[in-house]
């Protein structure tokens, strides 16, 4: 039984503009699904709608199930957030908060007493020990993204939706975070990751979704999608080559 299922799911705005055309797919527990597409292709609309985030003027149709629960947008925030948590790519706070406080806020959602072990585990896995006393507003963009990701993992929703949440990380962090994400996935967390970076997605995701102009034009395993034909469909005007990474052995795109 899939954890996340979409059946004919679409998102439209009122004067009949389609943001996400009818799409259906299943996601098993522990999967990492990458969502790729140029700007305006509908990635964020898709991700937000799956996360139950209501936006004025937008309507969804079709069915979206997360672990036997549907009508996610109608749930109370507490119920919803246990199933699916959406993290945007950046954030700011005018107030002074430390990293530790943010992580503990995540740990306390929906529970009476926070799971301290879980918190410690994640901090270790993500090497955030030194960051704990730091004030968030003093962090760099990349560090902020790392910290927010940690909070998401600590909060432990069934599905963690990351909308370009790694866009500011530098190369060595990227590869490493991909590895950690796959680890967390193996422990049972399901990920939906939107990114601009195809090569990063090839590291972190099992399956990919290609979107263009609101339509899902391809879905499948990385190896199946990194082919000249599919890529030509995606970017007809570019000459792209597929190579195998010397570092990780995964398929990469050369341009």
């Amino acid at each position: 039984m899939a954890l996340l299922s979409l059946r004919k799911w679409s998102v439209k705005t009122h004067p009949e503009k389609t943001l996400v055309s009818e799409t259906s797919f299943d996601l098993p527990t522990g999967a990492v699904l990458g969502v790729y597409g140029p700007n305006g292709s509908g990635k964020t609309s898709l991700l937000k709608s799956i996360s139950g985030i209501r936006i004025e003027g937008r309507e969804t149709s079709g069915e979206c199930w997360i672990e036997n629960a549907t009508a996610i947008a109608e749930m109370t925030p507490l119920e919803r957030v246990k199933l699916v948590l959406y993290l945007a790519s950046d954030f700011a706070t005018p107030f002074d908060l430390t990293v530790r406080e943010l992580l503990e806020m995540g740990a306390r959602v929906g529970v009476v007493s926070p799971d301290r072990d879980r918190v410690r585990q994640v901090i270790e896995a993500l090497h955030l020990g030194d960051f704990l006393p730091r004030v968030i507003s003093t962090l760099s963009d990349g560090e902020k993204q790392l910290v927010m990701f940690a909070r998401g993992v600590i909060q432990r929703p069934k599905v963690l939706v990351l909308d370009e949440s790694f866009s500011k990380l530098d190369l060595d962090h990227l590869l490493w975070i991909a590895k950690q994400t796959r680890r967390f996935a193996k422990e049972g967390m399901t990920f939906l990751i939107a990114s601009h970076d195809l090569n990063f997605l090839s590291e972190v995701a099992d399956e990919l979704l290609f979107m263009r102009k609101s339509v899902v034009i391809a879905k499948g395993l990385v190896n199946d999608l990194f082919t000249p034909t599919t890529l030509a469909e995606l970017y007809p005007n570019l000459a792209l080559q597929v190579v195998r990474s010397p570092e990780s052995g995964k398929l990469k795109i050369l341009y």
């Binding site: 925030p77 919803r80 957030v81 959406y86 945007a88 954030f91 107030f95 002074d96 806020m105 959602v109």
Partner: protein, 313 residues
């Protein structure tokens, strides 16, 4: 952390002692204490705590560190509402706390929220500008209203605009103190929900907190608290702005679990001391306490404003 509470508690005791005994005419102590100084000290605690807690909550819920009842025009709205209600003789007071003020405060808050664009607008200074404009509008409305409806009592506009702790009796003082305790207690109990607002509107629900419901309740409670406070003592500015800031720095955190009770205590200290000062400096005159809080608070506000701008750039 315990030390911080002890410190605040001692400070409060010291301020109350100063307020009660500074320059007291000991030949007549019992009478003066009972009839004059005690109600005054109580109302200072009630109003000071109410303003500080309201300021802290507003700063969080509106994602704006410069928010407070005075800068956002809510206090002016309350004064205007109270004046109108008093003129029409609407019997909506309890223990001298005028409910017209609550409606005025609520009206301004709702208007403010409607005019400010969600998300972006919240964290920006445009909200403060709007608030100051609303404040001026209400103050002008108040002035005109008093000139037309109460031409001989034009003096009392100073009460509204500058604040005055000497007008209330024991019953009102206790009522306001009680209200402040109850509302602050409520906010403290739900401090986690308030914490969810610290990252801005879009991140609230991610922490499992209902954005609309929490905001509405916060606004309603703040309006009630500020409304009643202003109807009893007039507009006293900057306590709601400065105390939360100082307490956040003192605590090195913005989380509400300790922020709320310490703002309660330090707000009470600030106003009790401020009033004791206003009272003793001007002897035998009665100086308006709001003038003193503005005198001290306005430069601090400007400094905070400038630092924020630099930080953003």
């Amino acid at each position: 952390m315990k030390k911080k509470y002890w410190l605040a508690g001692l400070a409060l005791l010291a301020s109350v002692a100063i307020s009660l005994f500074l320059r007291l005419d000991f030949s007549n102590a019992a009478l003066i204490l009972r009839e004059l100084r005690l109600p005054r000290a109580l109302i200072a605690i009630g109003a000071g705590s109410a303003l500080a807690v309201s300021g802290a909550v507003m700063q969080t819920v509106l994602s704006n560190p410069l928010a407070e009842p005075y800068t956002l025009g809510i206090a002016s709205g309350a004064a205007f509402g109270a004046a109108i209600a008093t003129t029409f003789g609407w019997k909506i007071s309890f223990f001298g706390l005028n409910a017209g003020a609550v409606l005025g405060a609520l009206a301004v808050l709702v208007l403010l929220l409607k005019l400010v664009v969600r998300g972006q607008g919240r964290q920006s200074d445009s909200m403060i500008l709007l608030g100051i404009m609303l404040s001026l509008t209400c103050a002008s409305g108040l002035a005109i209203w008093m000139a037309l409806a109460d031409p001989l009592g034009v003096q009392s506009i100073n009460f509204w605009l500058l604040g005055d702790l000497s007008r209330v009796g024991l019953a009102t003082a206790l009522a306001l103190l009680g209200l402040s305790l109850v509302v602050s207690g409520y906010f403290w109990f739900f401090s986690r929900k308030l914490d969810a607002f610290l990252f801005g509107d879009d991140w609230v629900e991610g922490f499992g907190v209902s954005y609309r419901q929490t905001q509405r309740i916060a606004i309603l409670l703040v309006s009630i608290l500020v409304g009643f406070c202003v109807s009893a003592v007039g507009m006293i500015g900057f306590v709601g702005l400065i105390i939360p800031h100082l307490v956040r720095r003192h605590l090195r955190t913005s989380l509400h679990f300790h922020l709320i009770p310490l703002c309660f205590l330090w707000g009470a200290v600030a106003l009790t001391l401020g009033d004791a000062l206003a009272h003793s400096i001007g002897e035998p005159r009665e100086l308006p306490v709001g003038a003193i809080t503005s005198l001290v608070g306005a430069p601090v506000f400007i400094a905070l404003f400038i630092r924020r701008r630099r930080g953003e750039v």
